[in-house]
Each structure stands twice: as C-alpha cells, then as structure tokens.
C-alpha cells in the first residue's frame, strides 16, 4: 500500500479527510439550528417597543414549537404566508378556538371584526400595530409555518457595521479559547 505515494494519491487522501470534516461540521450546525435553537437578526418597525427597529440579534428555540407548547404572548419567528422567503417576527395573540377582535382599518374608521381562530392555526400581531403586516391582513397562520419561539435578545446592533465587528470579535475569541484548551487541532 505504501509504495506509490504519488501526488494524486496524497491529494485524494487529504481531500477526503477535509471533506469528511466539513461534512461533520455542516451537519452538526444544521441539526442544531433545525431542531434546537438558532440565532436570528431582527429588524423593522413592527415590534416596537419590544425589539429595536434598527437591528437585534435574538435567539429562537425550536423545541416548544415542535411539541405545540406555545402560549398566548409568545414572540415567534414565522414564515410569511404571502412570501415564503420572508421570515417575520410577531407575537401570538390567540390560539386555536379563541375569539379575536381587531379593528379592520384604523385609519378609516373604528369598524371592528371578531374572528374565531380555526383548528391548527394561531393569530399573530406585531406589537406596533400601526405599522405591521400580520394576521389582520393575511388571516390566521397555520401552525406549520411557525419556525421558532424567541427566547431572549442577545444584543442590539444599531448599524450593520457594529453587527459585523461583533461577529468578528466573537469569532476571534472562540479561536483563542479553543487553542488554549486544545479544542482546535490539526489532527482531524
């Protein structure tokens, strides 16, 4: 086996090793963010005063949404039914079976409607109701579109520059910390 160690042989072995390591890291990250918890960058005016409109980094967890343990008042990350590529953050106001009353068009008049939330759906609204596209516009939200429940806010980032510099400092801290305790090694 050791006779022909040509360049392609060595290169093939190295590529296989790094490929397996990258696959392991990617799958670990995927399983953690899909089944446990994931960070999210939230911006926009629809959740004032809970979230800052310029940007917040929040941590959202997926365990309670998979086992249907949502309750009224939870802030959730969902997938918009109007555009599947948009991921808004809103608050749960009503669960299935609740009667929800809301003002249809606050700028025009005070006419209100009462809706019963059907089975398998929730009613979501933003905290800043004057500027929020939520269930008052697209109706009750099916449970399958809920991505996670927001646990806590990690930090407020007023500009994109501050977010990038914060990510860089966390990255370097992890590298230094890992080196000191032997977590980052060359032998894979």
């Amino acid at each position: 086996m050791g006779s022909s160690s040509s360049f392609w042989n060595v290169a093939y072995r190295q590529a296989m090793k790094s490929g397996v390591f990258v696959a392991k890291v990617y799958s670990f990250l995927h399983v953690t963010t899909t089944y446990l918890a994931f960070p999210a960058f939230a911006f926009g005016p629809s959740m004032i005063p809970t979230l800052h409109p310029s940007g917040n980094v929040v941590l959202a967890e997926r365990i309670s949404t998979r086992s249907r343990k949502l309750s009224r008042g939870d802030v959730i990350v969902l997938q918009s039914p109007e555009d599947p590529n948009k991921i808004p953050i809103k608050r749960v106001i009503g669960l299935e079976g609740d009667c929800v009353s809301f003002v249809v068009d606050p700028e025009k008049n005070d006419e209100s409607r009462t809706v019963v939330v059907p089975k398998g759906h929730v009613w979501v609204q933003g905290d800043y109701t004057q500027n929020s596209r939520d269930s008052r516009i697209f109706g009750p939200l099916p449970y399958g579109l809920i991505r996670g429940r927001v646990l806590w806010r990690v930090c407020i980032c007023l500009t994109l520059y501050s977010l990038i510099s914060r990510i860089k400092s966390v990255f370097f801290f992890c590298i230094l910390f890992g080196n000191q305790y032997g977590l980052v090694s060359n032998d894979i």
């Binding site: 392609w8 696959a23 990617y26 039914p81 599947p84 099916p142 399958g144």
Partner: protein, 180 residues
C-alpha cells in the same frame, strides 16, 4: 477497558452517521412511502396491493420556492401540522381556479393542490389554497417497487462503475475507497 473504548468508538461513529443522515434527508432528498389512493394511478395504482409505493422526495426546491404547475409535492396539512400529504400543484399564485361553485383566485404566496384521484382526495377543494411555506419537498421519482422504476436503478449502477473506473485510473488502492 477495551470494551469501554470500543463502545465509545461505536457510539461516536453511530452519532456522526446519524447526524449526517438527518442532514442529508433534510437538505438533499429522502424516501417516503405513499399511503392511500388519492394519487391513483400515479402512485399506488392497485387499491388492495400489500406494497406501498416509495418515492424520492428532493429538498433543493425549498431554497427559493419556485414550483411549476404539475409538480407533485409533499406538504404539511394546514389543519393538522404533523400530517404530511402528497398532492399535485394545479394552480400557482395569481391564477384562477374553477371549483364546483365559482371561480377562485389563488393569492400571492399560496398554491392550489389537488390529488389525481378526484373521487377520494382531501385537497384544496376542502381546505383552500395552501401557503407555499408549508411545502416540504418535491417528488421526483418512484423508487419502489422496482418494476415501476428503471431510471434510478440504471443511474446508480452506472455511477458505481464510473467511480470504480476513475479510482482505478488514479491508482487509488481499492480497499481505501471504503475507508471514509
């Protein structure tokens, strides 16, 4: 201590394999059985056969949610989110669908799904258009029973022989191919 070491090694390898398998089935493709006959004769053409059809579901379409009319998709039910249904997309966002009583417009971000066997199929004629975000994958081919599918078997056999030929050309020792 040898047994403990061996057990630990086996556990680590099984854990890694499990995590990689979960990632592949979430991101790449997975094989699911088709139950019921709401998609006859496309899937499960015989009503009382013992074998269910197994189909290959690909997940690359979930990156940008671009579907075409006629795609067969797997989606979560809007009323019972743990159930998964397999139906065909008949209407894309913005199109008009004629149901029994009137004409309905499919809203933005939604699609209209119907089963091929209209007599016994629970689909958009009952629960309305579904949001595209509920779709969990697109069905590309039938993988079992093998007499209903020859393309996949042919493809896998060709791929195996191509990989073998390439590794022989590169003078890779044949037993190291399996040492991943």
């Amino acid at each position: 201590m040898g047994i403990q070491n061996l057990l630990w090694q086996v556990t680590k390898k099984a854990f890694t394999g499990g995590i990689i398998g979960v990632t592949i089935s979430d991101r790449c493709c997975s094989v699911v059985p088709v139950r019921g006959d709401s998609m006859s004769p496309t899937f499960n053409p015989q009503r009382n056969s013992y074998l269910d059809d197994y189909v290959l579901v690909e997940k690359f379409c979930l990156q940008d949610y671009k579907f075409a009319r006629g795609d067969v998709v797997v989606f979560s039910s809007p009323t019972h989110f743990r159930d998964r249904y397999i139906k065909r997309i008949v209407g894309l966002p913005g199109e008009w669908i004629s149901s029994s009583r009137d004409v309905i417009r499919v809203p933005e971000g939604h699609c209209w799904v119907e089963g091929d066997n209209k007599a016994s199929s629970l689909d958009s004629r009952t629960f309305g258009p579904i949001p595209l975000g509920l779709i969990r994958g697109r069905v590309t081919s039938v993988v079992w029973p093998p007499q209903r599918n020859c393309m996949l078997a042919l493809f896998m056999v060709c791929a195996f022989y191509i990989i073998k030929w390439v590794s022989i050309q590169l003078h890779v020792p044949q037993d190291s191919l399996w040492k991943l």
